[in-house]
């Protein structure tokens, strides 16, 4: 079970520095136009930052796998919601009223 695990101070500090660095990258990358990839790249960097917060600040790395599953299931259903709605929108047939 969750043995009282103390994460070293150095780990927290390096995670903070990486997070701040990635924030700078996020802003810098936004100045360049990658076309359709813009949102994807921004979300990718955000997810790397999010993973660092989850793993180290929220201790997921050291905790029981159960919490992974709970959090992951929430994320899974959000992604599912996104894709099902997206599929609904792109498969709609535009009907023009002839009246």
């Amino acid at each position: 079970m969750s043995e009282h695990h103390t994460v070293p101070f150095k780990t927290y500090l390096s995670v903070l520095i990486i997070l701040l660095f990635l924030t700078v990258i996020t802003v810098a990358v936004a100045q360049i136009d990658f076309g359709a990839w813009n949102t994807f790249i921004a979300m990718f960097i955000a997810s790397v930052k999010g993973a660092l917060v989850l793993l180290y600040f929220m201790h997921l790395k050291y905790e029981d796998r159960l919490y992974w599953v709970i959090f992951g299931s929430g994320v899974f259903f959000v992604v599912l919601l996104f894709f099902l709605t997206k599929i609904d929108i792109i498969t709609r047939v535009l009907e023009v009223n002839t009246l």
Partner: protein
């Protein structure tokens, strides 16, 4: 007369068999709650991304009204606050209670700073008539047809997030109070950990909100 609990003893609620069971039940409950939070914000995120792909010109025009510098400063403020929050638990585990309280005060200060910057952003927009939905009354430069759509998302998402920051500040204040009462210590740091989990989630959501809202191309 109630005796002052020492930080070395931790209370065990009568419906738990062991400390281990109590603590894992607490952590489990917290993660279940965080899962519902992800689902709540997730709906807004999905709506935002889909409407963005349907009306890219509205979202591009809307983002020009936001100052990415203020959003960026707020990102840095929240990241630092997450760091100090994690430190408060670290110090509580090491029985350095003075440093623990100091970390909590710093976290609270960062939360306050975030809300101040948010207030500046909101008041500036509302001053020129940028309100959500049907209350949208802006007619000045840079206005495009349907701009209210962007700001409905903006106010809903940042507003819900800001209310979470306020709730988190309340919880940190409570934890700080407990720490001053000596009710948090190396053997009893779990309440602090739960507050921390909530605060990190607030940070996590902002990590996604910042590029989505402020850095739209």
């Amino acid at each position: 007369m109630e005796t002052k609990p020492s930080p070395q003893t931790k209370p065990l609620a009568h419906h738990f068999d062991s400390y281990e069971q109590q603590e894992s039940a607490g952590t489990l409950g917290m993660w279940l709650f965080l899962c519902t939070e992800i689902l709540m914000f997730g709906g807004l995120f999905v709506g935002y991304v889909l409407y963005h792909s349907l009306y890219p010109e509205i979202f591009k025009a809307g983002a020009t009204f936001l100052e990415w510098k203020k959003g960026g400063i707020n990102t840095v403020v929240l990241l630092i606050s997450s760091f100090t929050m994690a430190l408060s638990i670290y110090y509580a585990q090491k029985n350095k209670m003075k440093a623990c309280r100091m970390s909590l005060i710093l976290t609270l200060f960062c939360g306050l700073l975030f809300m101040l910057i948010k207030y500046m952003e909101y008041s500036h927009k509302m001053h020129v008539g940028i309100f959500p939905g049907k209350f949208f009354a802006y007619t000045g430069e840079g206005n495009v047809e349907g701009l209210a759509l962007y700001f409905s998302f903006y106010y809903l998402m940042t507003g819900l997030h800001a209310s979470h920051v306020l709730a988190g500040m309340g919880l940190i204040g409570w934890a700080l109070f407990r720490a001053f009462q000596n009710k948090i210590g190396p053997n009893n740091y779990k309440p602090l950990e739960y507050v921390g989990l909530f605060w990190h989630l607030v940070d996590l959501i902002w990590i996604y909100l910042f590029p989505l809202l402020y850095l739209v191309e």
